[in-house]
Each structure stands twice: as structure tokens, then as C-alpha cells.
């Protein structure tokens, strides 16, 4: 391993040696495009499992799994009536591991909505929504809406009875908006009924527009977590013996939220 990290090729890619010194460990994070949204050092209290349950991080993980499995699904799927439905049948009965692929994409999508809701609830209960993080909370609400929309637009794509009628319920609600409702429905469906046009629009929204919005949003959100001072931590309460300095605190516990 050590020898490998000293080769010219490795160094041309990673720029740092084997991470056995703190300097190199810093460089692992600092010099990587993908990792540099993390600071080089973090507070020990901030990475405790129960602090965040890594719920936000797991939302990102879900999005990653969804992107990969979604790209595979796109190879087998045509957004047209009635091909869409037959492609799903083929996926389940003909394509090798097709059922698994479809299951994974579908269950991960449900998981992501659930995790985003839990992340929101836990962030709130920890008090992390308060200033200076109030705007990141607002970005979070936006991410939740986009996540649900992604899940919802994907729901139509199999073109089965479940899909068709769930989307009918939804678009009828949209149509109930005063003044602009009918117009928005027309724009969304590309017609007055759910047909070929609607399927194509939902497909484009699901595979291109909404994922791009979500990637941007997640980037902004995670960047702001760091800019707002890292994970929110409650103040510490320390009891000091008479005349002691702070470093000699005898007990230390977190103040109530």
C-alpha cells in the first residue's frame, strides 16, 4: 500500500502520500474535490451517531443509489403509451436482475422521502433550525418538496393502474388551485387528460429537471452546513471547583436543548 502511494502515477492523481501523518490525513480531505466540503478537522461531539443519526448524509446516499439504478432503468424504458408498461413487464420477467433493479430503485425512493422527513424532524427537535441556520432550514424545506416531486413524477412512469390513478388524484388537486389551477394542469400534462404527452413530461421532469435542481440544492445545503459553523451543538455546562480554570472542569455535560 505504502509503496503504491509513492508511485508517480498515484501522486499525479492524489498529490498526497500514505495517510499515516496528520498532514497527509488533512490533505486527503483538503485536496479532494469530492471531500473538501468537509473541514479537515471536526469536533468530536459533532460526529456522535445520535447527534444527527447521519440522516442528512443518508439522504445523499439514497440519491446516489437512485441515480445509479435510475440510469440502468433508463436503458430499458421508453416513455410512451403503451410501451412504458410493456417495458416494465419485460424488466420484471425478461431482463436478468431486472426485478431487483426495479425494486431497489422503488424502495430507495420511498426510503429517501422517509429519511428526509426524519432528518427534518430530528433537526428541528435538536434546535438546529435556529439562527444562524434558519436559511439552511428553508433550503431544506425546498429539498423536501423537490424530493417528494421526484418521487411523485416517478410514480407515473410504470403506467399501471396504481400510477395512473395516483397521478389523477394529484393533478385534480392541482387543478383546484384558484385562477391558475387549470393552466398549471394543462402545462403539467400537455393536454386535458393523462396520456402520452403527460408521460413524456413527467419523464423529462423525473430524469432531467428535478434531479438537476436537487443536485444544486443539496450542494448549496451541505455547503451551508459548514459555513453556518458546522453541525449545531448545544452549549456545554461545566462545573468548576473553586478557583479552577476552565481546562480543569470536573464535570462537563451538555445544556438542555
Amino acid at each position: 500500500m505504502r509503496a503504491l502511494t509513492n508511485t508517480r502515477v498515484f501522486r499525479s492523481v492524489f498529490r498526497h502520500g500514505f495517510p499515516s501523518s496528520n498532514r497527509n490525513r488533512s490533505l486527503v480531505v483538503f485536496s479532494s474535490f469530492f471531500l473538501h466540503f468537509h473541514p479537515v478537522k471536526v469536533r468530536l461531539r459533532a460526529i456522535r451517531f445520535t447527534r444527527t443519526f447521519y440522516l442528512g448524509g443518508l439522504c445523499v446516499a439514497c440519491f446516489f443509489i437512485l441515480t445509479v439504478s435510475g440510469i440502468f432503468l433508463m436503458f430499458y424504458y421508453r416513455p410512451a403509451v403503451p410501451h412504458a408498461y410493456h417495458d416494465m413487464k419485460d424488466l420484471v420477467f425478461v431482463v436478468s436482475s431486472g426485478t431487483f433493479l426495479r425494486n431497489l430503485h422503488r424502495f430507495t425512493a420511498h426510503m429517501m422521502v422517509a429519511l428526509a422527513l426524519l432528518h427534518m424532524a430530528w433537526t428541528f427537535l435538536r434546535g438546529a433550525y435556529r439562527p444562524p441556520r434558519e436559511f439552511n432550514w428553508v433550503i431544506g424545506v425546498g429539498l423536501l418538496v423537490v424530493t417528494v416531486l421526484l418521487s411523485y413524477t416517478g410514480y407515473l412512469l410504470p403506467w399501471d393502474q396504481l400510477a395512473y390513478w395516483a397521478v389523477t388524484v394529484g393533478t385534480n388537486l392541482v387543478a383546484a388551485t384558484p385562477l391558475v389551477g387549470q393552466k398549471i394542469k394543462l402545462l403539467l400534462l400537455g393536454g386535458h387528460a393523462i396520456n402520452d404527452n403527460a408521460l413524456l413530461r413527467f419523464y423529462v421532469l423525473h430524469c432531467v429537471v428535478l434531479p438537476m435542481v436537487l443536485v444544486l440544492g443539496i450542494g448549496l445545503h451541505v455547503w451551508r452546513v459548514r459555513k453556518d459553523g458546522g453541525i449545531h451543538l448545544p452549549p456545554e455546562v461545566r462545573t468548576l471547583a473553586p478557583g479552577a480554570t476552565e481546562a480543569m472542569a470536573t464535570t462537563s455535560k451538555e445544556a438542555a436543548q
Binding site: 495517510p19 469536533r43 446516499a61 435556529r130 428553508v138 403506467w159 388537486l173
Partner: protein
């Protein structure tokens, strides 16, 4: 790093029973700057945080792979606009809304209430910032108690009489939250639980109400609704 003597801190000292002990509350206002100066323990992101993230990711992936191997996603008959299934249920995260549709016309259930919910969520951190210490009940507790129950009565009226049926899934959580909240105004000292309840902020209670109502509505829609959106018992009639 800021130090301040807090109400909470002095209570802590009183409990310890040592007048001579000093209690400080250490608040890291700008931890990225204070981090290295304070004695807050720090660790290297690599390996400590990155390894934890990797483990969390692998655990999630394993779970999802196992679920995908043992359960199959539903695929119904091909879409048929002439044949409406009964009930036509949306995915679980919309069943709360669909449940509301049972009580209200689509403008209210599908546009007004979800719109208000999203706006309320977005503005929650902007109003009444940090009312936790001193507590809600510090000054004029009786007046605030009166205001609270006035607001609860108004909201109850709206959710009981503005629809064909009272929306119990919203009203009952409202009352429960109101009762839990009011314990803070009572003149008893109480134990740890009472102290905890007394120091919750107003946004906390509002959020709790949202959370419990939304969960109740969703669970009702998921487990207890069948054909014609009639009430069903899941262990007797099954889940639709």
C-alpha cells in the same frame, strides 16, 4: 468562545449544593474560528468522520439490497382510464392529504392547507427567535395561558366546524399539545420532566402539533381506509 452565567447554570449549581463551585456555559458561537483555540476535542475528518460515513452508507445499502431481494415492488394491470380502482390510493406520503380530502373540498385540502404548511415550516425559524431561556412562562403566565387557550379554541372551531365532520386527527393532537404546554404555567416546581416541558419554545409546540397531526392523518389514510374511503379495521378487513 463566550461564557455566560445562565439561569440553567445556577440551577445546576444549586443541585450540586456547592455555593463555591462555579458553573459556566460554554457556547461556541463561531466554532470554525474557536475550534482550535478552545479545549473542545477535535478529531481528523479522515479517518474518523469518513469511516463513519462509509459504514452508514454500507449499512443503508445492505438494508436496501436485502429488502429488494425479498420483496417485490407492485406492478398492477395496465393503466385504464375507464376503470377506476376503489379505493384509488396515492403513495403513502400523500395519504395525509388524501385523508384531508375526505373532509374538505380540493381547494382547501389540496392547495390551501399544504400551502400553509410549507409556508409555516419555512418561516418557523424566523419568528420568536430563541424563546427558550427565559421560558415562555417567565412573565405574565396567566395572560399567556389565556391567550394560548383562546388560540386553541379558535383553531378547534375552525377544524371542527369548517368541514362536514370534525377533523379529530388535527384537533386531538392540538388539545394534547395545549395541555402539555400549559403544565409549564403552573406554579409548581416539579421534577426534571416539568422543567423540560417548561423550557420548550413556542415553535417547538407548533412543530409538535404539525408532526403528530400529519402522522395521525397519514396513518389513518394508510391503515384505516378502504373502498369509498370508508373506515376499515386493518386486522379485520386488511390494508387497502
Amino acid at each position: 468562545m463566550r461564557e455566560r452565567d445562565e439561569e440553567l447554570g445556577s440551577q445546576e449549581a444549586a443541585r450540586a449544593g456547592a455555593d463555591s463551585a462555579r458553573v459556566v456555559v460554554v457556547d461556541f458561537a463561531a466554532p470554525e474560528l474557536a475550534g482550535d483555540l478552545s479545549d473542545e476535542p477535535m478529531v481528523m475528518t479522515f479517518p474518523h468522520l469518513l469511516v463513519r460515513e462509509l459504514v452508514a452508507f454500507l449499512a443503508l445499502s445492505l438494508f436496501l439490497v436485502l429488502v429488494s431481494l425479498f420483496f417485490d415492488a407492485p406492478l398492477d394491470a395496465i393503466a385504464d382510464p375507464t376503470r377506476t380502482p376503489n379505493p384509488a390510493k396515492a403513495p403513502w406520503y400523500f395519504l395525509g392529504l388524501q385523508e384531508l380530502l375526505h373532509y374538505y373540498p380540493p381547494v382547501v385540502a389540496g392547495v390551501l392547507l399544504p400551502g400553509l404548511l410549507i409556508i409555516a415550516l419555512a418561516v418557523i425559524p424566523y419568528f420568536q427567535v430563541n424563546v427558550e431561556r427565559p421560558s415562555l412562562w417567565e412573565s405574565a403566565p396567566l395572560r399567556r395561558l389565556g391567550l394560548l387557550w383562546l388560540a386553541i379554541s379558535a383553531l378547534s372551531t375552525v377544524f371542527c366546524f369548517a368541514s362536514a365532520l370534525p377533523v379529530w386527527s388535527i384537533v386531538v393532537p392540538l388539545w394534547m399539545v395545549g395541555v402539555a404546554m400549559s403544565t409549564g404555567a403552573l406554579p409548581w416546581r416539579g421534577g426534571r420532566v416539568a422543567l423540560w416541558l417548561r423550557t420548550r419554545s413556542l415553535p417547538f409546540w407548533i412543530f409538535l402539533w404539525f408532526l403528530v397531526s400529519a402522522t395521525t392523518l397519514t396513518a389513518t389514510g394508510f391503515f384505516f381506509r378502504g373502498p369509498g374511503w370508508a373506515f376499515t379495521i386493518p386486522w379485520r378487513d386488511g390494508i387497502y
